[in-house]
Amino acid sequence: MTRITRRTILATAPAFLAMTSLPALAAKKYDTGATDTEIKIGHTNPYSGPASAYGVIGKTEAAFFKMINEQGGINGRKIEFISYDDAYSPPKTVEQVRKLVESDGVFLLFNTLGTPTNTAIHKYCNQKKVPQLFVATGATKWGDPKNFPWTMGWQPNYQSEGQIYAQYLMKEHPNAKIGILYQNDDYGKDYVKGLKDGLGDKAKSMIVSEVPYETTDPTVDSQVVTIKAAGADVFYNVTTPKFAAQAIKKAVDIGWKPVHLLNSVSTSIGGVLQPAGLEASKGAVSTFYLKDPVDPTWKDDAGLKEWTAFMDKYYPEGDKTNGFTVTGYSVVQTLVHVLKQCGDELTRENVMKQAASIKDLTLPMLLPGIKINTSPTDFFPIKQQQMARFDGKSWELFGPIYTGAVHA
């Protein structure tokens, strides 16, 4: 038996003191899913089903976290990235997200993909106070901190892009007669609203024709003819890839040569411009915010080299011409920045606080000059874009960086 003497007490006292005072000094605070050694991050993505092309984003993110973990983690904590397939089906998303939150006990949800799928979990995340961070959808409703303080978007939203076209027109074609072709749903209406907001008082006089189409329509030929007949000399083309190709082709067929504003949803060369005809697509103008990895402009760019090195080492099977790898790479870097900022206070509240106070963050694959900024009233991380013109072979960037501010 050991006898407790005055000496042992004296010897052990400092150790005790140190032990009790340590947490107070370091102020380590944790919510579910975060510990001294680990942060659990939940993710849903369609790896199967009709939208499985987006699966590349999740795979890129998983590869990036592998790299982070090999480099020692974030502030010494390893990332456990749990990514489930929801096949782009809202009920499956609800099930998977509940599994992530209630069974796997993730710290936050990150970059869950799709508008209907995120809508399905929007209320749930805000009721449970689980961050639904940097969702992968361009709808405007993700930036509503007043009603949904636990949800934040990432990519430029449709309204903000519409505003950028308005700024471009006011500067380059102030007397334009604008004809609008748009898909009759929230996506299309967001684009139209953005443009009108951007034009302000001049919207009424500048817009001469505004024609919707339904996704069930076989073609948009008659709509294009109507817009031309209204005397438009600027064509604001808010269409998804199939319809975009039809519209480009039809405009050329009827001998219409307007200034062509093509929404960024349909800028894929292989998916839209080639089927429409490269010659016919020449001169189309759109917006970009990420570096295109196949664009020779960035051949010697430091950011591109960093991305290439990452792809070669951690995601060698990934297709380097696929823009989704760039998207995944950049959005995951934004999250890493936020988690670093959180320090040792890994609470869900602090994550939202840090996510809402990003100041002038630049990323390797963002176009030079584009900065990420957020505030407690601004939940739209990327608002800036640059214009580019299709020269018959590739998109050529031109002009300044535009900022399309939207306050939902």
Partner: protein
């Protein structure tokens, strides 16, 4: 439908469709088995995590939808690839009534069922002139059309278009010390038990025998004086009724409806659940529900990249090992066991 006829030795709903006669001792054992399952089902929410409770609620929802399909395919011999449409109509009926008319959640179930019964019956009238794969194709058209109809612009005011409708989870009654997930589980369980009992009684009744006679030999059934087209349409309606109620319960559990939730893939899932559980078996529908919900997750756990392929392999194995579904497998195993026991006793 017509009243149940309780006679000794009735084990029709559970195995008659599989074409075997069972001993008179079966019903008693069935009753014990059912009581056991119900007791376990009642206890689960008290011990399981709320996520498990939620998953099992969905299992019951799918089981109910599969039961609807089973009445049509298993008992009446008609194929449908369009049950995702009925499930969707049920879900949307419940959501629209709750969202726009503030109707309490429990009152939306009969409405959803009735809406589906009418649509199913009306769709059934002309479509049932078609046989076998042709009917399957006609119902396939329904499944393909449904998501687009839900997105259709003139209906947007009701359906919410592509954005769908968010609804609130029903609160438990104040006097019960349980949370919303547990309450929805018990509510679903109650509906499930009532609907399963009703289905068991239906197939046991005169009507049920007529329905099965049409499956086994339509010409003989007609010769016996059964109005085959009326019965077929009615079966279609009842089948849609079941699936519609499942859809309404599913909407309550998910708290959200959107067109993309009710694609053709859902019809296929229900068909898979039907075959795995056992064509023409009522308890087999529960196994089907478990399969539909858990096996894709299991496949994903094995490998994210190959989830689809692994799901396929599991499905193939199940079909090889249990060619007549889980219900048939249990029955076969039971028969083997009985033979083994009697051979031991006689030796």
């Amino acid at each position: 439908m017509s009243a149940p006829e309780h006679t000794a030795g009735q084990s029709v709903p559970f195995d008659a469709a599989l074409g075997t006669a069972e001993s008179a001792a079966q019903p008693a054992r069935h009753h014990w088995a059912i009581a056991g399952v119900v007791i376990v089902a009642l206890l689960i929410p008290l011990i399981g995590k709320s996520f498990i409770v939620f998953q099992l609620t969905l299992v019951m929802v799918y089981a109910l939808a599969i039961l609807g399909l089973n009445l049509l395919t298993g008992f009446n011999g008609q194929f449908s690839l369009g049950h995702s449409a009925f499930y969707g109509i049920g879900a949307y009926t419940a959501a629209i009534l709750m969202d726009q008319a503030d109707i309490p959640y429990y009152a939306t179930l009969p409405a959803a069922g009735a809406a589906c019964f009418v649509v199913g019956f009306l769709f059934g009238l002309p479509a049932l002139r078609l046989q076998g794969i042709y009917l399957a194709l006609a119902t396939f058209a329904l499944a393909i059309a449904m998501p687009q109809i839900l997105k259709f612009h003139p209906l947007e005011g009701l359906t919410g278009g592509v954005q769908g409708i968010s609804i609130l989870k029903p609160d438990p009654p104040g006097f019960l010390p349980i949370d919303a997930d547990q309450w929805l589980y018990y509510f679903t369980l109650l509906v499930l038990l009532v609907m399963f009992a009703a289905a068991a009684n239906l197939v046991r009744s005169r009507t049920g025998r007529a329905i099965m006679a049409i499956r086994d030999n339509p010409i003989a059934a007609a010769a016996m004086g059964i109005n085959t087209s009326l019965y077929k349409s009615l079966t279609f309606g009842v089948s849609a009724f079941y699936t519609g109620i499942a859809g309404a319960l599913g909407a309550l559990a998910i708290q959200f409806v959107a067109p993309d939730s009710f694609t053709f893939l859902l019809s296929v899932s229900l068909l898979v659940g039907l075959v795995v559980g056992g064509v023409g078996s009522i308890p087999g529908c529960l196994i089907g529900g478990l399969f539909v919900l858990f096996v894709p997750n299991l496949a994903e756990k094995v490998s994210t990249g190959l989830a689809g392929a692994i799901y396929g392999v599991i499905l193939l194995l199940v079909i090889f090992v249990m060619p007549s579904g889980a219900a048939g497998f249990v029955r076969l195993a039971g028969a083997h066991f009985a033979r083994w026991r009697s051979s031991r006793r006689s030796s």
